[in-house]
């Protein structure tokens, strides 16, 4: 930048302009990034089916499963009560009677934390699944219907509907892909155990019996949660583990069947807003979008389907809701919807790949593609780049101005940067590894529970991170003005890089962290009143933001977190590793001057 002596006028004037207008430009960029994001719901186009095989072909749904599903559900409920858990033998027999190839998969997992309900470490369960073999097909492809068999009488109706649907589908001749009807025990734990056994991998130390019967590559999966005999609406969940999303076509397929059967379908518990531009419609779209962003940023799966996405199986969770609305639908309508979806998926000649994988949804019928939402984050990150440019030019101008800076000192000032950077990265790594790895040691030596040990370790490391500025203070004080400037330059660039990487994996998390981290990162500088800055920095810690996101999500959507009691799942959330490390570096590097 500074090394272009040939035309000194142009860069200097440009640079001068940047230096002069840096703060207004930053503010403008940040505000336009936020505005862009807020405008997304208003400008979102309608969804459409990209996949020809699913879009243009007609399927008729002939099933009338309502009464049969309810009878089976009651039967299942009775046996479940009698068995005090999943009635494996009864399910096996029922599926065999329906003409399916039935398999049973036992599994067990030692939990790092005692189970909330039963205070136990070892969880044992059994998954039961039946395979409907497609005629004249060589079992290379399959579709899957999943029903988690939960505690109490939850999801009984879903099992009934699964069995009724299996019985109906068995009598049909048009299947080209095998159908797997899976009932898992212990919600996510059972689903994960089944998926790992099916793909013959072991990611989470689940001990499970092998799967004696397979059906090739699973093309799509639907998870069903249903706890009432009638439903007023069906809610669909898309967010998977780490913010992964299924192909948009699967959602479009569901939406088109909702429209066809007149079923009331919601996304994030919200109906599609009324057509046409209006204030309330925009507000509702924005609220739905916000809920989705919060849910995705949390990184937890929005339902049992969330675990399938990692194995590249497109999956959705359909959740039957029974509210106080007047008009109720019986299970027959839901059965027909499922049947129609499976028939269309059966027609697929390829994997679901035509439509978007990266999108945000302001309502069930509208979508925001990656091309539209990325500029909002790009504008936020531009703030960091502008700030870094400003610092870089001031540093290089200072060099030119002083002219006589001995080269040794310059090198020395850069060397000073190494310890704080290393220490902060180390703190980030410790934040990721220590709480989970070290909990066993902690419980041995201190009188704390496993869950408390993790939380205490987290808090401990964060607090220790606050002390970091003091320890690096001396190292930096020698550099004078240039010291903090070059440190901040590196920190800004590192933050921009990490945020952009994070946004590729999980846009929502990247955007939320960007929106909270960018203003303090751009604004902090030594001098002035230190207390407000310190409070601001602590409040924008990613740990704090994540806590707010998770609690905010469950508050705003007015539904309890659907999956609780699986804290060990947290250890997989790899983006958290990224953000912890990023905060580690940020906190310590900006810290020295403001604390």
């Amino acid at each position: 930048m500074g090394g272009t002596p040939k035309y000194p006028e142009a860069p200097q004037s440009m640079g001068g302009l940047l230096l002069q207008l840096n703060t207004p430009l930053c503010i403008l960029s940040y505000l336009s990034g936020l505005t862009w994001f807020l405008l997304l719901p208003a400008l979102a186009p309608r969804t459409y089916l990209s996949e020809n095989a699913m879009g243009s072909t007609m399927v008729g749904e002939g099933s009338d499963l309502g009464a049969r599903a309810l009878a089976l559900a009651r039967d299942f409920g009775g046996h479940k009560r009698k068995a005090g858990g999943m009635p494996v033998a009864w399910l096996e027999q029922a599926m065999f009677q329906l003409g399916l190839e039935v398999h049973v998969q036992p599994f067990s997992r030692t939990l790092p934390f005692p189970d909330e309900a039963h205070e136990r470490y070892l969880v044992r369960g059994t998954n039961v699944f039946g395979v409907l073999r497609a005629p004249r097909a060589a079992s290379t492809e399959a579709l899957l219907l999943l029903v988690p068999c939960s505690e109490g009488s939850k999801n009984n109706q879903a099992v009934g509907l699964l069995l009724a649907l299996a019985g109906y589908c068995r009598g049909q001749v048009y299947w080209a892909k095998d159908l797997i009807f899976l009932v898992t025990e212990h919600d996510l734990l059972g689903t994960q155990a089944w998926l790992e056994a099916y793909h013959d991998v072991n990611l989470t130390d689940i001990q499970s019996g092998g799967i004696p019967g397979r059906a090739g590559a699973i093309q799509a999966a639907l998870a069903l949660e249903l706890s009432s005999d009638v439903v007023t609406s069906v809610d669909v969940a898309v967010e998977g583990l780490n913010g992964q999303l299924p192909n948009l076509d699967l959602l479009n397929l569901f939406h088109s069947f909702c429209l066809k059967s007149g079923l009331l379908c919601t996304f994030q518990g919200k109906l599609p807003p009324p057509e046409g531009p209006s204030g309330p419609a925009y507000a509702q779209s924005l609220r739905t979008l916000g809920l989705m962003v919060l849910g995705q940023a949390g990184g937890g799966p929005g339902g049992a389907h969330g675990l399938f996405l990692r194995f590249r199986i497109e999956a959705l969770t359909l959740r039957g809701i029974n509210s106080f609305r007047q008009h109720k639908f019986d299970l027959g309508v839901l059965g027909r919807t499922l049947e129609g979806m499976f028939r269309k998926l059966n027609n697929l000649l390829e994997r679901l790949h035509q439509s978007y994988f990266l999108y945000l949804l302001p309502s069930l019928s509208r979508f925001v593609s990656i091309g539209s939402y990325v500029p909002s984050l790009a504008l936020l990150l531009l703030v960091l780049a502008l700030r870094a440019l400003d610092l870089w030019m001031r540093l290089s101008r200072g060099e030119e101005g002083e002219g006589e800076t001995p080269p040794g000192e310059a090198r020395g000032s850069l060397l000073w940067l190494v310890p704080p950077i290393l220490v902060s990265w180390g703190a980030g790594t410790a934040l990721y590894l220590l709480p989970v790895r070290g909990q066993a040691v902690a419980t041995q030596h201190f009188p704390v529970g496993e869950a408390e040990a993790v939380v205490l370790a987290l808090i401990g490391i964060y607090v220790a991170g606050m002390a970091l500025p003091h320890s690096t203070h001396r190292a930096l004080s020698g550099g004078g003005q240039r010291g903090w400037m070059s440190l901040k330059l590196v920190a800004l660039l590192a933050l921009a890089l990490l945020l952009s990487c994070l946004a590729l994996l999980n846009f929502s998390l990247g955007f939320l962290l960007g929106a909270t981290l960018v203003p303090p990162a751009a604004a902090v500088r030594p001098g002035g009143n230190r207390l407000p800055l310190a409070i601001l920095l602590v409040l924008t810690t990613p740990g704090w933001s994540l806590f707010l996101v998770v609690s905010g999500w469950s508050q705003v959507s007015l539904t309890p977190l659907p999956i609780a009691g699986c804290p060990w799942l947290c250890s997989w959330f790899s983006p958290r590793r990224v953000c912890r490390c990023s905060w580690g570096s940020q906190g310590s590097q900006r810290g020295p001057r403001c604390l």
Partner: protein, 579 residues
């Protein structure tokens, strides 16, 4: 028509031309046809047709010009290309050995072709290529896609089934096309090879509409040289056409598992093929457990045959279509079977040898091919030969090959591995593995998915890439001792694989084909790039080029508009100088 054929027969038999008396006696043939109906443990029914045309002539001498029962198309092919043995199977679906038991003849999903050539053939590859192309024409199948990328030369798995002097495996070629879809267009040419077509005899039942309304359909052609008689001084040629169909009565009969010929084929048997020397229907009525008869057949069979098939004592009700008593009582034969009581799951027998294969792992970089082989024999161990053919675009890591039985490593006693060559040769892995009694053996090998060239990807709608079935060949020890039978007299379905001794029987099993996804680039992106580039070129370059190459002239002030011209004309008339 049958009468005409008979007349022709008599003529050829009675009046041989001069010098052909010897040849005429030699060229005798016989057609035996049979249908085996066996209820499967799951309640489905398997129907296996076998048509055997036997020809007492030496095709290789080349002097044969008159064909009678033996189809000319195949006969000339065998003679011209020096084929010693030919086995072609076209299959739609997958035989579920675990639930359906051991079939008389199994075939992998898709198309399978294996051929032994005569030692006189010099260029085997050329003959193989030519043969697959001709067969592709005869059977309307995509056999012309057989090339060096899917052809292998197994060393141990495929032995000649007929007479053979040597077993130099360089004369053998084997290929599987797992993607092949089998339908009516493959069935029709197969039916036309039968001496009676589908006009008479058992072939009347071969109605395409019903045969493809089933769970499994497999048709095959086997040509091999056999001994003419017990002394084996002369050679005969045998053409065996088999067709196996599995009918699923659960979906069609609302849970009722009773069946009849009419229900399966929507036809009944009314007459026999006049060219057939034997025409029989066998119904497997062996009791599943000792005490109770489960099945009831009607009409009463002409005889009951007891045989030991694949290590099991079986009872068959036999209907001999050639016996005059059969069609006396009623004009047509409609074999019916009724279950006396419903089955339950506990009664399902598990075959001694069965296998399962799948792709393990996730993601698009690496994966693992896992094969599980089950030996459920209570006390006998036996070896099995595993043949694995993997396309080149899955790069196998041979060092990751592990064979685990009962938690311990199982060292194969024989390994033949031929690595793949990109775009020219598949991987071939053959192993001889000992299966301990009552055990599961897990064989895993890791692979990496290759990036293909952009023209090598199939056109857009594709399910993925198929990996053909692996082949398991084994001599399975039988529970019941077998007697040596007269091969010529025993039913056809017992006799393709001759058993070496009484204590074991030969089984060839095929595992599931696999579907693997390769990393596929977004092909719409080049399209977008091309579109964008074209637009940029057209708009920017075009207008720029236009600007650069256009020559600019200073234009003379124009002569004005229409009014001015009119005015000038008028002025000219008036003699006034123009404007």
């Amino acid at each position: 028509m049958a009468a005409a054929v008979l007349l022709l027969l008599l003529l050829t038999a009675a009046g041989p031309g001069p010098g052909q008396a010897d040849a005429g006696r030699e060229r005798r043939g016989a057609l035996r046809e049979e249908l085996l109906l066996s209820p499967l443990p799951t309640g489905d029914v398997a129907a296996t047709f076998q048509f055997r045309t036997r020809w007492d002539a030496d095709l290789q001498r080349g002097a044969v010009s008159h064909y009678r029962l033996f189809p000319k198309a195949l006969g000339r092919l065998v003679a011209a290309l020096g084929v010693r043995e030919l086995h072609l199977a076209l299959t739609q679906g997958f035989w579920r050995t675990r639930y359906w038991g051991q079939p008389p003849l199994q075939a992998p999903a898709g198309a399978e072709l294996w051929v032994w050539f005569q030692p006189t053939v010099t260029d085997v590859d050329k003959a193989w290529k030519e043969l697959s192309n001709i067969l592709s024409g005869i059977f309307c199948a995509s056999l012309n896609f057989i090339d060096s990328t899917n052809t292998v030369i197994p060393t141990a798995s495929f032995k000649p089934l007929g007479l053979a002097n040597g077993t130099d495996h360089h004369l053998l070629r084997y290929a599987v096309l797992p993607r092949e879809v089998v339908c009516t267009e493959n069935l029709t040419p197969w039916k036309k090879l039968l001496p009676c077509g589908s006009k008479a005899g058992l072939a009347v039942l071969l109605k395409a509409e019903r045969l493809f309304h089933s769970s499994y359909h497999s048709q095959a052609v086997h040509i091999r040289p056999i001994c003419r008689d017990a002394s084996c001084l002369a050679m005969s040629w045998e053409l065996r056409q088999t067709l196996t169909v599995v009918f699923d009565f659960f979906s069609s009969g609302q849970g009722k598992k009773d069946w009849s010929l009419f229900k399966m084929f929507s036809r009944t048997l009314t007459d026999t093929c006049p060219l057939a020397s034997q025409s029989k229907v066998y119904v497997d009525i062996s009791p599943k457990n000792k005490e109770k008869e489960l099945l009831e057949v009607s009409p009463p069979p002409t005889s009951v045959h007891e045989a030991i098939v694949q290590g099991d004592r079986r009872t068959y009700a036999v209907y001999d279509l050639l016996s005059p008593s059969l069609f006396n009582t009623s004009r047509s034969l409609n074999v019916q079977l009724k279950w006396k009581r419903p089955q339950d799951s506990s009664e399902m027998p598990i075959p001694t040898l069965h296998a399962q294969r799948y792709v393990g792992g996730y993601g698009l970089q690496t994966g693992e091919i896992c094969t599980l082989i089950y030996n459920t024999h209570p006390y006998r161990a036996f070896p099995v030969i595993l043949l694995e053919t993997v396309p080149w675009y899955l790069r196998l890591y041979v060092h990751t090959l592990t064979i685990i039985t009962k938690g311990k490593e199982n060292k194969p006693s024989y390994i033949h591995y031929q690595p793949a060559q990109d775009r020219s040769r598949p991987h071939l892995l053959e192993m001889l593995i000992q299966l301990p009694a009552n055990s599961v053996t897990k064989i895993t090998i890791q692979f990496e998915r290759a990036l293909l060239k952009w023209t090598e990807y199939p056109p857009d709608p594709n399910h993925g890439f198929y990996v053909g079935s692996s082949v398991l060949s084994a001599l399975v020890p039988s529970v019941t001792a077998m007697k040596d039978m007269d091969v010529e007299q025993s039913p056809l379905f017992t006799s393709l694989f001759p058993s070496s001794d009484g204590s074991s029987y030969f089984v060839r099993l095929y595992t599931e084909p696999l579907l693997v996804n390769l990393p596929t680039p977004d092909f719409s992106m080049p399209y977008n790039v091309i579109c964008l580039t074209c637009t940029v070129v057209a708009v920017c370059y075009g207008s720029f080029y236009n600007l650069l190459t256009r020559t600019f002239h200073v234009e003379e002030p124009s002569r004005g508009g229409l009014a001015k011209r009119l005015a000038n004309v008028i002025r000219k008339f008036r003699g006034v100088p123009p404007l």
